[in-house]
């Protein structure tokens, strides 16, 4: 069931229900085990800079990825390994960006979760929260100017990012232009260490949709079938001309902000609450209860994914790292406009 090279099968929009759940579970599993591998490499001192995991958000993220087509646009954020893989990012490129391979998508110029292929619709995030949403708007706007129709753009954000001006400006802009934007907010209860009580004062972030003129959706972010249904509906509504949609998923971040953070500020009671359930375990229970897989099959898949990840890490560890002597050291694409000064 799991493909060796992740990517969307053709005509995925019709592959609803049971098959889609299995497909999404595959990407959740890949993301979780890949994140675990990055955490191990981080602790072993093999990774420069930070490591940011999506533990607890895989169901939501995978549901986004499997709901999109190749021609769609996706601006993932830091906890979207599952969605990236489901949208078509090869595991090996995720590994390359964390290990700083010169063959990776950012060639060592940027690292970790900052990666993508703008021309293929997978936008590389900058760190400033909310800043990618209007870029998705721009891609959708441009395609409409070019006469292209039928595509959707998804941007993701945590609840902390909803406090930015960029978030407000971009959602208002998307609504004015009636763009097929789906804004997915993972309300994981903490923005780094800041709890929701210090982040916003409304009852439900999805209520903000009314103020923008967007469709509103709430979903239990720990439930894969619920995420598939809700994200799928939001994406199809936007695709069919229903205008921008806001999805707010409730869940709990099951890790620190990054691997440098032990998240000691998270109340154990919250971890023990329904919000704190592990979406991967719930997804496995769902597959078993629906007889989409048995325990033996789950074990086979897990071992298969471990093999894929080990193979990717082994390959990348043999790849060249960026070379400061062959680096061009110019930020311009127009060579004739580089200053001589740059070469001093």
């Amino acid at each position: 069931m799991l493909e060796t090279v992740p990517g969307l099968p053709a005509g995925d929009a019709t592959a609803l229900g049971r098959e889609k759940a299995v497909l999404a579970y595959g990407f959740m599993l890949r993301a979780r085990l890949l994140d675990d591998k990055f955490a191990t490499l981080y602790r072993a001192g093999k990774i420069h800079g930070g490591v940011f995991l999506g533990r607890g958000q895989e169901a939501l993220s995978a549901a986004i990825g499997v709901s999109l087509r190749d021609s769609d646009v996706f601006a993932p954020l830091i906890r979207d390994a599952a969605g990236r893989l489901a949208f078509g990012e090869p595991i090996v490129d995720a590994v390359r960006n964390y290990l700083g391979s010169a063959l990776g998508p950012m060639r060592g110029r940027d690292g970790n979760v900052h990666r993508g292929y703008p021309r293929e619709g997978l936008l590389p995030m900058i760190s400033h929260l909310g800043a990618m949403i209007s870029v998705v708007n721009g891609v959708l706007f441009a395609r409409r100017l070019k006469g292209q129709t039928g595509m959707v753009g998804v941007a993701t954000l945590g609840e902390g990012g909803t406090s930015t001006g960029a978030f407000h400006e971009a959602l208002n802009q998307a609504s004015i232009e009636k763009l097929p934007l789906v804004m997915v907010v993972a309300n994981n209860q903490f923005a780094y260490s800041t709890p929701n009580s210090r982040q916003f004062a409304c009852d439900n972030l999805a209520d903000r949709a009314l103020g923008y003129g967007m469709g509103a959706h709430n979903v239990d972010g720990t439930s894969l079938p619920d995420c598939l249904a809700t994200i799928g509906q939001a994406v199809e509504t936007a695709r069919n001309g229903g205008g921008p949609q806001l999805v707010v998923a409730s869940l709990l971040r099951l890790c620190g902000h990054g691997e440098h953070d032990d998240a000691g500020y998270i109340d154990p009671k919250l971890k023990a609450s329904p919000l704190g359930r592990d979406c991967l375990k719930l997804a496995e229970e769902y597959l078993l209860s629906q007889k989409l897989a048995d325990a033996a099959q789950l074990a086979v898949w897990r071992s298969q994914v471990v093999g894929e990840i080990e193979e990717a890490v082994n390959q990348v560890q043999r790849e060249p790292t960026p070379d400061p002597f062959t680096e061009k050291w110019t930020a311009l694409s127009s060579p004739h406009l580089n200053e001589m000064h740059d070469e001093i």
Partner: protein, 321 residues
Amino acid sequence: MSITYLEAIREAQARALKDDPRVFIYGQDVGAFGGAFKATKNLAKEFPGRVLDSPISEDAMMGLAVGAAIEGLRPIIEMQFADFSTVGFNQIVNQAATLFWRTNVPCPVTVRLPCGGTSGSGPFHSQMMEAIYAHYPGLIVLTPATVEDAYSMLLEAVAIDDPVIFCEHKFLYYHLKADKLPDTALPVGKARIAREGRDLTIVTYSAMVHECVAAANELASEGWQIEVVDLRSVKPLDTDTVIASVARTGRLLCVGEAWPWGGVTAEVIARVASEGYELLDAPPQRLNARNTPVPYHPNLWTAHRPTARAVVSAARKLLRT
């Protein structure tokens, strides 16, 4: 028949829209209204669907432009005033300016900044922003001083595959006139000798070119031959033309309307000091606006920015050194 600096900007955009279907204009009031200064007058009518009003959202305006550039379009963003570009600063310096370096995908966005002081405009409608944008790698910063350059450099800006900050000076909008639009132009990155001389080099750009030429004319009546170099683009900065001029005159005065701390005048002096120190017969000098926000009242405003009179005074002092 004559054409103003502002009309040249309007004509350049009309031509860009006509010649290249990838071009569109997005900004506050640029549509049917034709822009706060009328730089897009009638363009929405002439090019339906390609000259669009934006909400008052400079951040989202710039983000949209970057997304459209990724899709191969060539957006022109009009900031209503250069001062307001600070609200979109993040998207300009972190999104647009880094895109090519990070991803190898060019970002051909032109951002028009109506900049500089006019009497009565006050602290938030008068700023010069060129230094702050020139500081960031990945941006081109243009500062046209003439009608011809306003036209040709805006057309070139749209054709450049990198993000361009186009600083058009509001003081020049209406009163600066030319007989016709140019057929040929110096390329971006080349400075222009606005006035030849042998006693002192004044390096300047944008509206200050005219103050400096007026100062040079006044000093000519005293027998001094002042050379005025119009940088045209502050990034890239044509160090060669500046050094060649200093080699002829031995004296350097840099004049800018921006604030004194750092900036273009400091950059020019740093380059001449490190690459042409032996050419200097006297310590190089700078003349900038005063180190306060731009004042509202004309009495204060005319004393805040460099004027021809202030340039004459600074030049005389340097000539006597």
